[in-house]
């Protein structure tokens, strides 16, 4: 049995369904991210685990105990907020001690735990400071220490890095992941930032309009998206309407240009309309020896993006982005030229609509 089980959970506000039949089992020590755009229901799901929202239907089990209707202060769940939510009237040490103090732990135990947490987040010189005297990154580390001090069964992180600048985000997310691994704590991380989710998670739940689109490891989510939304939301993607030409050979046609896919299309019929997706980095200029999946493309535009050069090509009437690594000796084609481009069979994804 899984450690945290969210079973058939639905949440409605009035007539609006915000989360619809959400099912997820999380193992102990696992780091799971809920990824999706604003309004997809990821924060509401997190808040139901925290106890701030009560599900309209379904159950939440934590270590075998039903916590669906339990008050937030009875759940032993730590929460980190986007706005840090440190108590302005308390110092760093008092903030960290708060959870233990309301649980009426002994003074010695509180002092020892506060010391442990301060060491964990490397803020030894700031224990007597008030939140306003700390930077955003430091405040969020205190918030992490405060949540961990109570030995929570699950750590919930609601977009904790969104208010920080890019450099701090990257370093703090690595720090959060390292601490989570060190303590072996089960964590749920809510974000709309795909890079954050891909870099930090054991598993990602891609959500859209209250529904779970796909659950998988970051590798699976990026390389093998199962829905158009999942493919579009995680990473950039070319997607096009195509027609099945030969189901047995998994051959499809995009405006007359033939591509072979690794996806089994035997259950489809010739002439069926399908949606095809190819990641920009999987397309490349074809070498003379290569024969399979080679199509003619017109060069429409070339954009320099630093480490990557994005080339916009037109295959039939469909426009595709093609990404290639930048190097000083790159021989780029001229705009308007017709070149042969290719991709592997595995790069041609056939998605559910």
């Amino acid at each position: 049995m899984s450690y945290l089980s969210i079973s058939h959970v639905t949440k409605k506000f009035g007539d609006t369904v915000v989360v619809d039949n959400f099912n997820l089992d999380i193992e102990k020590g696992e780091f799971v991210s809920f990824l999706g755009p604003s309004g997809c229901g990821k924060t509401t799901t997190l808040r139901m685990v925290a106890g701030f929202e009560i599900p309209t239907a379904g159950k939440i089990l934590l270590d075998g105990a039903d916590i669906t209707d339990k008050a937030p202060n009875q759940r032993n769940v730590g929460m980190i907020f986007q706005s840090y939510a440190l108590f302005p009237n308390m110092t760093v040490a008092q903030n960290i001690a708060f959870g233990l103090s309301v649980r009426k732990e002994s003074k010695e135990m509180i002092a020892q735990r506060v010391d442990e947490m301060i060491n964990l987040i490397n803020l030894e010189k700031h224990t007597a400071k008030y939140p306003y005297q700390l930077s955003g990154g430091q405040q969020q580390r205190v918030s992490l220490a405060r949540a961990l001090a109570i030995h929570p069964q699950v750590l919930l992180l609601d977009e904790p890095l969104s208010a920080l600048d890019a450099k701090i985000r990257v370093s703090l997310r690595a720090e959060i992941r390292a601490i989570q691994k060190k303590l072996g704590i089960t964590a749920i991380f809510v974000t709309h930032d795909q890079e954050e989710a891909l870099s930090i998670s054991d598993r990602i739940v891609v959500m859209n309009s209250g529904l779970m689109e796909q659950v998988g490891t970051p590798f699976e989510i990026y390389n093998f998206p199962t829905t158009v939304f999942s493919a579009n939301f995680v990473g950039s993607l070319n997607n096009a309407s195509a027609e099945v030409v030969d189901p047995a050979l998994s051959l499809i046609s995009i405006d007359g240009a033939h591509f072979e896919s690794a996806v089994d299309l035997k259950e489809r019929k010739k002439g069926d309309k399908v949606r095809v997706a190819i990641r920009p980095e999987r397309l490349s200029f074809a070498s003379e020896q290569r024969k399979a999946n080679v199509v003619d493309a017109t060069i429409e535009n070339i954009t320099f993006l630093g480490s990557v050069v994005r080339i916009r090509v037109k295959i039939g009437n469909t426009k595709f982005n093609m990404d290639t690594f930048n190097n000083p000796f790159l021989d780029l084609p001229k705009i308007g030229a017709i070149e042969q481009v290719t991709c592997s069979r595995e790069a041609v994804l056939v998605l559910d609509e």
Partner: protein, 279 residues
């Protein structure tokens, strides 16, 4: 130690403009409007002894056997009003902010009613309502005093609610409440350890505004036959020459002291509410 030229502050001469002159004149006129009567009252209060400027009027005021009882009664009334008002307004404003934001306009309207209803109307309405069974509260001096305090609580609503509401808006009440809940805090721990301490300035300013109103209130106390500072001042004006001015200055000093306390406490605690602007 030498000071580097770069660290020497450079005085920039701002060109004379009619706009600046206009602003200065407005400031001067407004200052005179407030300060001349105050100065004149103070000057008048010092003339208690013939041909000598001194504090004779103040001495006579404090020596008056009716002054201190009236003063202390007003203080007790003010403290009771503040306590009752805080107990009603803080939980109401907190709950409206947290759970019932749609009710805010209604609560605001109710708290503003004392501004709309004139004191004289209010006091006669109250006397009529509470002078007959089953709500007979004007029968004795003490029961009338309880009623007076309740009326003062209602009068304090606009100031108290506004102060508390502003304080609640300055902090992220919802998130702080949820953070405390997730750490295991119950409602009393949330209110007394998180919310109240962060509303310190707001509560203090509401309390001191209430204090200032109750100390100087005349109409309602007079018609309810209470021996508080307001009626005492009114009587004093009828029978004495210099003592009323001394009394006005004393009342003014109390109000300014109250404002000074708000400012002093506010400086310390407003820092806590600042957000760090750098990462």
């Amino acid at each position: 130690m030498k000071t580097s030229p770069a660290s020497v502050p450079v005085k920039v001469k701002r060109p004379f403009s009619t706009k600046r002159l206009g602003s200065f004149l407005i400031f001067l006129v407004v200052s005179l409007y407030f300060l001349v009567p105050l100065g004149a009252t103070f000057y008048w209060s010092l003339r208690g002894q013939k041909d000598v400027l001194g504090f004779e009027a103040y001495r006579k005021l404090f020596a008056d056997t009716n002054f201190l009882p009236a003063f202390s009664e007003s203080i007790v009334n003010a403290v009771a009003t503040i306590v009752l008002s805080l107990l009603i307004v803080v939980p109401t404003a907190y709950w409206v902010t947290l759970r019932l934001p749609k009710l805010r306009p209604i609560v605001e309207f109710i708290t503003l009613l004392p501004f709309v209803i004139p004191g004289i109307v209010l006091v006669f309405g109250i006397i009529r309502l509470y002078s007959r069974p089953p709500l007979l509260l004007t029968a004795t001096y003490d029961s009338s005093r309880v009623l007076l305090i309740c009326v003062y609580v209602a009068l304090s609503f606009p100031y108290m609610f506004r102060s508390v509401d502003n304080g609640l808006r300055a902090i992220d009440v919802r998130t702080l409440t949820e953070a405390a809940q997730s750490l295991g805090a119950n409602w009393s721990a949330i209110l007394f350890r998180v919310i109240f301490p962060n509303l310190r300035v707001a509560l203090l300013s509401g309390a001191l505004l209430t204090f200032a109103i109750v100390i100087g209130e005349l109409t309602i106390a007079l018609y309810m036959a209470q021996h508080t500072l307001g009626p005492y001042m009114a009587n004093l004006t009828r029978s004495k020459v210099y003592e009323p001015s001394a009394m006005a200055i004393v009342a003014f000093a109390i109000t300014w002291a109250a404002m000074g306390i708000i400012d002093f406490v506010g400086r310390g605690s407003s820092k806590h509410l600042q957000m760090a602007d750098t990462d």
